[in-house]
């Protein structure tokens, strides 16, 4: 952790830290009390309003939604990764005719909201006679938008492999394609693994757009459930907690992968900051 801004605290600093701790805890408790009061005052704490979420049928329904979320996320991640590798290689190609379109795709898609793509698939394509099944109405726009993000991750990974590796492969008589496939890509793949996992958290978050498509993933299942039993805030809190558990585990996996990749040495790491989505 950063100890940039303070030394080992002396007596006065310790007193100040204690004071700040007490103040912080008091503010937290006050916020908590306020929340509980709001819940209680509006009768939302009543046991029968939370009871349903201690029963199996409710969870079976929500877990069904989670399964659909996972399915959509895995399929769109697979498609986006395949396209992402192609785009990354295209962007690093020696031919302008390949390089420019790949770069244009990545830059253009980065500046279009995923929801706009979803609306396009939802309302525009049917007019031109292409009415996809519900699943693909969610997966197709997600794959299109995430391909650009994965492309940038792969490109950074390929560029992080030392030039000498590719040059040595060429000197050994491998063709350009062979050196990419046999020497550079395997090393790049290992380095980008942590970023891939944390991108996948973003993609999993994007699948909540199923809410708009009315594809029965986790959030939409929550909506259906809330409309059915009228427990709005309870249902959405439970849904949020499920997302939190799944994504936090994936993020923890990304961090531990990151450490083990760094521990293997040699990998020059650039700190990447995550971009919200």
């Amino acid at each position: 952790m950063s100890n940039l801004l303070f030394d080992e605290p002396g007596p006065r600093a310790r007193r100040r830290i204690r004071l700040a701790t007490v103040a912080g805890v008091l503010v937290l408790l006050a916020l908590l009390a306020l929340a509980v009061r709001q819940f209680a005052a509006n009768g939302q704490l009543a046991a029968e309003r939370w009871q349903p979420y201690a029963t199996w049928p409710m969870w079976r329904y929500l877990l069904g939604g989670l399964w659909s979320t996972a399915l959509a996320a895995v399929v769109s991640a697979a498609l986006a990764m395949a396209a992402g590798i192609a785009l990354a290689l295209g962007r690093l190609s020696r031919r302008r005719a390949v390089r420019l379109p790949s770069a244009a795709y990545v830059e253009a898609v980065r500046t279009i909201p995923a929801l706009l793509l979803v609306y396009l698939v939802l309302f525009a394509l049917p007019r031109y006679g292409l009415d996809l099944p519900l699943f693909w109405k969610l997966v197709a726009p997600l794959a299109v938008s995430n391909a650009a993000l994965f492309a940038e991750v792969f490109r950074a990974g390929i560029m992080s492999v030392e030039r000498g590796q590719g040059e040595a492969a060429l000197a050994l008589g491998l063709t350009h394609g062979q050196s990419m496939r046999l020497v550079v890509l395997p090393q790049a793949a290992r380095r980008v693994l942590p970023s891939i996992v944390s991108q996948s958290v973003g993609l999993l978050k994007d699948t909540s757009l199923g809410f708009v498509v009315s594809y029965a993933e986790l959030l939409y299942s929550g909506k259906v459930l809330a409309n059915y039993n009228g427990l709005l805030i309870q249902t959405y809190i439970v849904v949020a907690l499920v997302y939190l558990v799944v994504n936090a585990s994936l993020s923890a996996l990304a961090r531990s992968l990151d450490r083990s990749v760094a521990g293997r040495g040699g990998a020059r790491r650039r700190k990447i900051t995550r971009v919200p989505r």
């Binding site: 940039l4 801004l5 303070f6 701790t21 500046t111 706009l116 609306y119 919200p276």
Partner: protein
């Protein structure tokens, strides 16, 4: 094409709402991010823990879930606010976590001699943060913050899913009237691309102007 031109007022209205939401929530997110990062690099363990939990929670929740929870859930416990206001607050809280992380990586990039020198001069924690660390940290994170700004602009479109009529929702409404999806959605996409291009231009200029020769 005429579909686009006939409905320019609606598009304009949507664009204005998008821009208002972007500016308001980015300002809010900047404040949230600064507070969180100050807590996170500070010496008080409780505040550090709170800031860490805040960042982890918000980065691992989909924005749409937070928007739905706030728009449909909070009225149930008596917290009612305007639709756009709610969306702006939620987006600000959400993006604040990302800004805090970007700032923290900027703070960590500063050499420890800077902090030590500030303390040796007798500056307090707040002073050294304000006068020494943050000015340098902010310079190194202009590009990441610019990217967050662009992503935030794209994210305001999610407010359309909970009923705010901003650019995406306006495009959708016009399309329902005119049924000419290609020009309408491409027009909206171009508007977003223009905002992103402006943001990219500004961050590029800022980065060059703020760069310190070391």
């Amino acid at each position: 094409m005429s579909a686009l031109l006939d409905h320019l007022p609606e598009f304009w209205q949507g664009l204005v709402v998008t821009l208002q939401m972007t500016v308001a929530s980015f300002a809010g997110a900047a404040v949230v991010g600064l507070v969180i990062v100050a807590m996170r690099v500070g010496p008080v363990p409780v505040l550090r823990a709170v800031a860490t939990v805040y960042v982890e929670t918000l980065q691992n929740l989909p924005l749409l879930v937070l928007l739905v929870l706030a728009v449909f859930g909070l009225p149930e416990i008596g917290l009612k606010a305007g639709l756009t206001t709610t969306a702006v607050v939620v987006i600000a809280l959400y993006e604040g976590a990302y800004i805090a992380e970007a700032l923290r990586s900027g703070v960590n990039a500063i050499s420890s001699g800077q902090g030590e020198a500030a303390r040796a001069l007798g500056l307090t924690f707040g002073q050294s943060l304000r006068h020494v660390v943050l000015p340098q940290a902010l310079r190194t994170v202009v590009q990441p913050i610019g990217n967050i700004f662009i992503a935030l602009t794209m994210n305001t479109s999610l407010a359309a899913a909970v009923g705010v009529v901003e650019l995406t929702a306006a495009a959708n409404r016009v399309n329902l009237l005119e049924a000419q999806p290609i020009p309408i959605f491409v027009g909206a996409g171009l508007a977003y691309a223009a905002i992103a291009a402006c943001a990219g231009f500004v961050t590029g200029r800022l980065e060059r102007r703020l760069a310190v020769a070391r």
